[in-house]
Symmetry: C2
Subunit: 340 residues, 2 copies
Amino acid sequence: MKIIIDAMGGDNAPFEIVKGALQGRERWGVDIVLTGDTTAILKALEQCGQTDLPKGVEIAHTTEQVTMDDEPSTVFRRKKDTSMGVGLTMLRDGKGDAMVSAGSTGALLTGATLLVKRVRGIRRAAMAPVIPTTTGSAVLIDCGANAECTPEYLMQFAYLGSFYAKRVLGIENPRVGLLNIGAEDGKGTALQKETLPLLRKAHQDGHLNFVGNIEAKEAIKGGCDVIVSDGFSGNVMLKTIEGVGSYAGSALKGIFKKNLLTKLAAVMVMPGLNSFKAKLDPNKVGGTAFIGISKPVIKAHGSSNAEAIENAIAQAKQFADSGMIADIEANIQLMKVEQE
Amino acid sequence: MKIIIDAMGGDNAPFEIVKGALQGRERWGVDIVLTGDTTAILKALEQCGQTDLPKGVEIAHTTEQVTMDDEPSTVFRRKKDTSMGVGLTMLRDGKGDAMVSAGSTGALLTGATLLVKRVRGIRRAAMAPVIPTTTGSAVLIDCGANAECTPEYLMQFAYLGSFYAKRVLGIENPRVGLLNIGAEDGKGTALQKETLPLLRKAHQDGHLNFVGNIEAKEAIKGGCDVIVSDGFSGNVMLKTIEGVGSYAGSALKGIFKKNLLTKLAAVMVMPGLNSFKAKLDPNKVGGTAFIGISKPVIKAHGSSNAEAIENAIAQAKQFADSGMIADIEANIQLMKVEQE
């Protein structure tokens, strides 16, 4: 298994990316290709105590970078030798099994779509982070790649999310819910009203375990394993989770820092608090899978540190090992809305 | 000041509603009209230790109730004598200054629109709860009344939310943000893209303090005082806050209940934890204002206890005292999108 890593993408590139790549290689037993400027990568390796290129690590030299100012739709035409674009091209050409980048989300998604391409028949690739729930976790698909969706996109997301939950997260017969503002039929916008019967039919035909409309609150309680949403509402949900998580974190910090007694209290509950915080920490979660692309692409958080990259590599490996892309290809006929 | 209270609405009616009404009357110095079945209300009063009708408390006898099974759009035609419908009609006729109900949200909104009516020129009434932020609180408008919106609705919500933040919450020059999936121009769906220039123009003309697109995470950090949204995304945001809040609550409970030491820790940080929990507790917050209706209507949570009703009464009083409906009427010309 070989993972391609964009060494120049993200706020902490290249040092934290390279460091995380070394940790990931060690921990998960994968080979690594680092794309980017050779001098900068070698320097980062040296800072990690590696004077020679370690076994199982390659560098693919590139001279350019995708920046946050680059227009995603044109950058790969204008810049032919970016660490991100070259990595994606290598992935397409079979020179690696999965790709990880902490660079611009928009550029990575566009690049994955243009260079690696979607699975044939898939209308749109989706971003599918795994979010924490009271009882475990759930896949939220889409969370921002597609602000405007059709019922067919959402039906496809339901299948994609379901395969991901099953193959990558190991959830048997994942429960699929349609994010809505009430559980009853007739709730939501035209999009949800038109998607509901499509998912119900897929359930009746035995292709999906669809549990119906689900409210955000019930989803966080663990009411389903796959939350199907347009990218706009899904992004609002994801960012609200992050926001409230960070709000709760800072509120707790304030509570525990008040005086000597509360500081003592903090010591007593530290292990519990840390595991609670870890569940909401993007660095522990790793990255967000782009699903619907014909090869595994993982977007790591822009602010990823080495630990985040290490975890994103684990996720990339699981994705590549899972066989879920074969699942999509084998079931693509189910994911089409017939033209009437 | 006289507040009309639907004594039969909500999961805990009539006892908790009547109890909360008595507490509210005492605490906020308002008169109360309880609408509903006289026998049931008198029994609840007796359970509160009141054998006679207390001073400043009236009963408006009604024989019917709006239930969760009633269709909001037809219930007030079919049932002419419900505690909710009679209350709204009394409000319209000036027999009270504001109305509080913990009954069906859909019915209350429809009833307020049909019976009390919107301010002339307002296209849609909106639900505008006050949500906690890291630095204080913010008005989220709309959060579910209107799943599908036009740019004009959103522009009106921006004004309505701004008046509410200023007059009811006492925020000088409230910062208005448009909920979006990124801060940059061009983010979001057609709705956000078309609303952005309308709000920008209102800002340039000095009518609104518009701070631009805002992501959910930044909004929760306190990036604005009024979060403008279609009802679908706004509802997703609100329910996610509730869900994560309750998740954090149960996680903390688990952490502190682990052993004797952690239970001791809980005692030390109890005051801080309680004030944190209060900020996320719907019973402390009171209710959600329906804004755009020509008189103040407050929807209390369906599961409201007496404390929640007491707080909703405070909110109803502030709303009625605030003069914000006069603000809307005086500025209605600004809130129209010119026909081209």
